[in-house]
Symmetry: C2
Subunit: 207 residues, 2 copies
C-alpha cells in the first residue's frame, strides 16, 4: 500500500543492516543513494562475553552500532572500577572524547554478552560528511543528542542520591538490571555491592 517505485527504499527489502538503517533514518530520513554509500562501508564484528572492544589508551576510530548483545564502558577512578555507560542493542556510539579529538581513550569498552557489532570507520564517515548533506545532519543531531544526555547524566550524578539513580535505571533501562551482574550495577551507581543490596531490599519490600 502507498507503494510506488519512486518512494521505494531499502526498508522495503530484507537487509542484514536493516536495524541500523532504521536507527539512522529515525535521526534524519536518507535516500537510497546515501544509504548505499553508507552500508557498503559497514564492517561486521562479533565479540564473546567479556571480550574487550577497545582498551583504554587506544584511539577510537569507529562509529559502532550494537546489532545484538551488550557493551559497557568503564574506567578506573582512584583504584575503583567505575562503569560509565551500558550500550544495549540498537545503541549507536563511539568514545565521544577520543573519536572527536583523536586523543587516547580513558575508558575501556567491553562486551558483557556475546555481541554483534556493525562498524563504520571515522575516515569513511568524514568522507560521507563531505559528500552527503544528510550525513552532516545525522552527525550534528547525533552529537546534539549525546551532548544533552551528558548534561542530564552529569546532573543526575552530582545531585541525585544512589536510590534515585537506581530508580532511574529501573525505569529507563529495566532490562539492564536483569542482564548485568550486581557488582557491575554497583560500579555504575558508584556504591558498594552491600549498599546496592539494601536499595534492592527496600524496593522489593515496597512492591
Amino acid at each position: 500500500m502507498n507503494e510506488s517505485p519512486s518512494n521505494k527504499t531499502i526498508a522495503d527489502h530484507p537487509h542484514p543492516f536493516e536495524s541500523l538503517y532504521k536507527r539512522l533514518s529515525s535521526i534524519a530520513p536518507m535516500d537510497e543513494d546515501a544509504w548505499q554509500a553508507f552500508s557498503s562501508s559497514v564492517q561486521v564484528r562479533t565479540l564473546e562475553s567479556r571480550e574487550i572492544l577497545w582498551p583504554s589508551g587506544s584511539i577510537c576510530k569507529y562509529l559502532v552500532f550494537v546489532k545484538s548483545g551488550l557493551i559497557r564502558s568503564h574506567s578506573m577512578v582512584s583504584d575503583r572500577q567505575i562503569t560509565s555507560t551500558f550500550y544495549p542493542e540498537e545503541s549507536l556510539f563511539y568514545d565521544d572524547y577520543s573519536f572527536l579529538s583523536q586523543q587516547p581513550m580513558t575508558k575501556t569498552y567491553e562486551a558483557l554478552e556475546p555481541t554483534e557489532l556493525l562498524l563504520i570507520s571515522r575516515e569513511r564517515l568524514l568522507q560521507l560528511f563531505d559528500k552527503y548533506k544528510v550525513f552532516e545532519r545525522i552527525g550534528r543531531l547525533a552529537v546534539e543528542q549525546a551532548h544533552i544526555k551528558m548534561i542530564e547524566a552529569q546532573e543526575r550524578i552530582s545531585q541525585w542520591s544512589a536510590d534515585d539513580n537506581y530508580h532511574y535505571l529501573q525505569k529507563h533501562q529495566p532490562d539492564i538490571l536483569q542482564r548485568v551482574p550486581q557488582k557491575i550495577i554497583a560500579s555504575y551507581l558508584n556504591i558498594s555491592p552491600e549498599h546496592l543490596s539494601r536499595i534492592r531490599a527496600k524496593v522489593a519490600g515496597r512492591t
Copy 2:
C-alpha cells in the same frame, strides 16, 4: 594582492559583523551567499554591566556571539552561587541544554562588563541548516567542540584540585583573573574567597 573578483569575500570589506564572520569561517569556510543569508538575520543587543541576558527558567532561543565585553553563566547549588563559564569577546555560545532540548535553563546569564552581542534566532538557524550544507557542518563542528570542552571540564572539576584549576585558568584565560571580581573567581573554582586568597598568595610568593 592575490585578489580577483571571483575569490573576493566579505572579509575584504569592512563590515560590522566581521569578527563574527571570522569566527564562523574558522570553523568551516563559507561562500558569500551563505554569509549574506546568515548576516542579514543577525540582531544586535547591548547590555550594561550586571544586566541579565537570560534568567534561569527561561528557554534559550538564540545563538550568541560576544562582539565585546564579558558574559558569565551561573546557577545556585545548595544555596551557593556557582559560576559555570566565562564568555569573553569572540565567544560563540548558547545555553547548550536549553537551546538543544528547548527545556528551561537552569543557569542565569549575566554581563560582567558593558557588552555588545550579535544574536541569531534558533528558528532562523534551523532554516539555514535546511538550506545550506555549510551551516549543517558549522553546527556539527560547533557542538562537537562544545561536547569535547564539557568532557574536559568535567574531568578537571572531578579530578583536579582548586590549585590546579586556578593555574589552568591563569594559563588559558589569564585576562579573566584581571577582569572579574575575586568573589566570582572563587565561585568558579567552587572555593571560599579565603581559600582563593591563599592560592593567590602562594602563586605571588612563587614568582
